[in-house]
């Protein structure tokens, strides 16, 4: 039998709730509506008592019902006499009402749309000096490195280089090859209209070395390494490992951020060159197989179109991207909060910030190089 509720009046000012049957979450408890109406109608009630002898079985359903009755009684300033309740339920209600609700209740109140936009704007405004401070700390740390005073372990640097370098070769090769392929096909379709297929070599060569090699490597590194940096440092933040470094007098910027930045800065030039070569090879592959250009011819054309400034311009760009990616990854990692949720946010933010930095830098550098005639 599901829970039953009936109201009785042993005395005019005493309302007795007679409870019967099984009060289980699975079967549901009766509503308190009748009781509420009774209380509104009858202003004489001073006391609510219970008769729970006929309750066969109960769980939280009874307790939530009682919590409602207690709350109603509180609103109408009526006394509660729990004597007639099952022993266990009475004691649980004592427990539930022992600690009054915290003052802070409802502190996450719903914010209006404008309010939320304002909050976001303020948060972004506050983030700017934080980023500048991190930039300052990293610069100081680089200064210490130059003077040979930075504390970090060489073996850490080697491991990091292995992570970002050799282990990234396959994915960089795959992406660069496909990008070279795409550039070659796209260009060939246009150049073939006036029989100038041989200029695929110029297109792919200049495209890869000046822009695409650095850009694609940068995007891969942002997704692969920037995310890893943020996740590593963020988890260290959660585990208080970064605090442990600080406590022992190690500067976490020197110890954690510096080797990560160095690893990426050292690896990027080689990685960009590697990407250039793979991309040009892909262009050659397309020209030879689909557009009847000889391998040697293509090679000659590439060498003729290429100048050193194109190559080192691209390498310089890539190195700057690497620095920015490591900066974004470490910044988000160090800023990370102390929960799994926060690590996820830090990682996402590291990749987004990294790619944003890359795109901004790419535009500025391209314009700058154009102006300088590089």
């Amino acid at each position: 039998m599901p829970g039953q509720l009936s109201l009785e009046f042993p005395a005019p000012d005493n309302l007795q709730l007679v409870l019967a049957g099984s009060w289980l979450l699975a079967t549901g408890a009766p509503p308190v509506r009748d009781l509420e109406q009774q209380l509104l109608k009858d202003g004489n009630i001073r006391r609510i008592s219970f008769n729970g002898k006929a309750i066969s079985d109960w769980d939280s359903a009874l307790l939530t019902f009682l919590a409602r009755v207690y709350r109603l009684a509180g609103e109408h300033s009526i006394d509660i006499d729990p004597a007639g309740l099952p022993d266990g339920a009475r004691r649980m209600m004592v427990l539930a009402t022992a600690v009054p609700p915290a003052e802070a209740a409802g502190k996450h109140g719903k914010e209006s749309l404008l309010g939320r936009i304002g909050q976001i704007a303020l948060a972004m405004w506050r983030a700017t000096p934080e980023m500048l401070r991190f930039l300052g700390e990293v610069t100081l740390s680089l200064g210490r490195l130059v003077r040979g005073k930075a504390q970090f372990r060489g073996s850490d640097l080697m491991l990091l280089i292995q992570d970002v370098g050799p282990q990234a070769l396959p994915i960089v090769a795959l992406v660069s090859f496909l990008v070279g392929l795409i550039v070659a096909y796209m260009g060939a379709a246009q150049l073939a209209q006036f029989g100038a297929q041989i200029y695929i070599a110029n297109l792919v060569g200049l495209g890869m070395t000046r822009e695409m090699g650095a850009l694609m490597t940068g995007v891969i590194m942002a997704g692969r390494t920037g995310a890893a940096y943020a996740a590593q440092l963020g988890t260290m933040q959660v585990n208080e490992e970064i605090d442990a470094f600080r406590t022992l007098g190690f500067n976490p910027i020197d110890f954690l951020v510096l080797p990560r930045m160095l690893a990426l800065i050292l690896i990027m030039p080689g990685m960009v060159l590697y990407s250039d070569i793979v991309g040009i090879t892909a262009g050659m592959f397309v020209s030879v197989t689909a557009f009847d250009i000889g391998t040697f011819e293509y090679y000659q054309q590439t060498v003729r179109s290429m100048e050193w400034r194109h190559i080192w311009g691209g390498v310089l760009k890539g190195t700057i991207y690497g620095m920015l990616i490591a900066f974004a990854g470490c910044l988000r990692g160090i800023q990370c909060g102390r929960s799994a949720q926060a690590v996820g946010e830090a990682t996402t933010s590291a990749v987004v910030t990294g790619i944003l930095f890359i795109v901004i830098a790419a535009s500025l550098l391209t314009i700058l190089f154009q102006q300088l005639g590089i």
Partner: protein, 259 residues
Amino acid sequence: METGTAQQATERDAHIVVQDLTMAYGDFVIQHDLTFSIRRGDIFIIMGGSGCGKTTLLHHLIGLKQPARGRVLYDGTSYWESPPEVQQRIKRSFGMSFQSGALWSSLTLAENVALPLGEYTDLDQAEIAEVVSLKLSLVGLAGFEEFYPAEISGGMHKRAALARAMALDPEILFFDEPSAGLDPISSRRLDDLILELRDSLGTTIVVVTHELASIFAIGNNSVFLDAEARTMTASGNPATLRDACPDPVVRRFLNRGEA
């Protein structure tokens, strides 16, 4: 029940029965031949030194790890020999409070408690909200519904985890190191809460701990796992074991090394 033996495993009111349980990671045996029973309404302590496999035993009791050998029975039903539906039903009667709380950090306290209720009951949103408020007020966290786990203290974490464990009115509550990292007063309050839950709701409670104060305050039955022998060396009421256990290792453990 005094120092326990295997025969007591088949007692009438046994809620959980462990028979010849061997726990291992691959070939590495952690504990072997564990046999004990936990009666309905017991507060059962799993004790032993660090690294003896207490938490591993707990993970076997809540169906997270499969025994290398032996059986775990709940009300006479062997967990690992049952089909998945039965396992699911048995699991539904458990509540577990993990060592560090294990609250889901992307959910508020209210959402943490509400998740199992939404998944496994037919209650509507308003009813769930009421049950959630009740559970949180039972552990003294009324008014903290909208807080995220990162915004509350360690002691509150433990209590919120308990509220989540109690969400479905479990028949058995498991605790892994409930008082670790708590100050003596909070730890005492948690012990009182555990006792109250057992007395009021008749919940069977299994606690992994090595806090002696807690062991004697709440435990009425226990098992002692020895890291050297890799098996249980004593079982029964901890207070009795402290004074009268034949094994000196157990006596020393329960007397803080002074026996």
